[in-house]
Assembly symmetry: C2
Homo-oligomer: 207 residues x 2
DNA sequence: ATTTGTTTTAACTGTTTGGTTAAATCGAAT
DNA sequence: ATTCGATTTAACCAAACAGTTAAAACAAAT
């Protein structure tokens, strides 16, 4: 009988993820989530007492997917080249599968910045190891001197922004052609990787 | 008597900009906009019949500010170095003054991608001249070969993303320290400029 | 057969919200 | 003095919405 409960709970969370990601907290409707989950509103409130509680649960679920990946990338990388390759490849790959997640996360975080506090408690990323890998590369003269924070933001920017800005890119640069956009995304991993390495490495041979 | 009308209309638009940018279309309330404008709800509907009409007007206002800047940058730049310098400087400067605009624009554009169609009609950016400047630089061997679209997206990403991702940057990298974030933003223009030039120019002396 | 937790049904409450209406006021222009 | 558009006041409407409730149905475990 436990399985029934977990099943329904998961069905609700999946449905809530979908609706919240597409509509945001303000735009989402409890009725729509119930419909999407194939249940009724009463049962929805039976499992999650309020919209806020459901949202919090869903947000943790979604955000932890992102931070978990970042943690794995950091711990699986031993030098700066690996770090860059893994980070760019895995991030673009992850987001490609759920392209509306970044807009959702960023928007809700701006709407309620305090959400980040809970997330840090739950998914503490050791940003220090991150920084250390970069500092090591700089001190060993493998790359140009660079502020680690700027570098990380640069990488995240170029990986995430193309998905958030899809309407702009398609509208102004690709004549609304969805195929061209998909092609652009397919090229993106390799392009960003070489673009960043070109900037970091003084001698291109070292790549 | 005309002046009174225009005055009030502008007061409403200013107030609506503020509220819509902070709360988004779904989160904004007509009463709050009326309060912010120092008028009552009846007068608000007297000027703009519906929330949608008001939103459309406001969105045009905000978005055209962005595209206008981009147009000016393009037409005021004669070579790739000028283009990069102007674009990065002006964009970060513009957004610094209204840091919540990017999240608003991107979120509403994803919520309703058709908005971009109207904007293209109103503010047709000649992206072709943009591309031409980059292609010229490539064929003249001034910079490494690069897909112009990727380059533009790279520049926009690194300029805009830091503002959209403020909560993440502050939370995970700057220990929630607002002063450090401001310092990070202050450095940003110069950093992005050199980061991109380092990537583009094979010989650093050419910069 | 009874119990227990899950799910449905269906109606309902209370509040928020976008939008309307009508009458009154006010200010400037004629 | 009158006219006309701008503005306020205050009440109102209808729809949407989050959340509740109670009774019944159901399914599995005891």
């Amino acid at each position: 009988m436990v399985s029934v409960t977990e099943n329904t709970e998961q069905k609700i969370i999946d449905a809530a993820c979908k609706v919240f990601i597409l509509k945001g907290m303000d735009g989402a409707r409890m009725q729509e989530i119930a419909d999407e989950a194939g249940i009724n509103k009463a049962l929805l409130h039976y499992y999650f007492r309020s919209k806020n509680k459901l949202f919090d649960r869903v947000f943790v679920e979604i955000f932890s997917g992102i931070t978990t990946l970042l943690s794995e990338v950091v711990s699986n990388s031993t030098d700066i080249v690996e770090l860059i390759d893994n980070m760019i490849h895995n991030y673009i790959h992850l987001i490609s599968e759920r392209p509306f997640v970044p807009d959702f996360v960023l928007h809700e975080l701006n709407r309620n910045p305090q959400l980040i506090v809970e997330q840090i408690k739950l998914n503490g990323i050791d940003f220090s190891k991150f920084q250390q890998l970069i500092i090591n590369a700089v001190t060993q003269n493998k790359i140009r001197p660079i502020n680690p924070i700027h570098l990380v933001v640069n990488i995240l920017s170029m990986c995430i922004f193309p998905f958030v800005a899809k309407p702009i890119i398609m509208g102004f640069m690709l004549n609304g052609d969805e195929d061209k956009y998909q092609h652009f995304i397919d090229e993106r991993t390799e392009h960003v990787t070489t673009f960043i390495k070109n900037s970091l490495f003084i001698n291109p041979a070292e790549k």
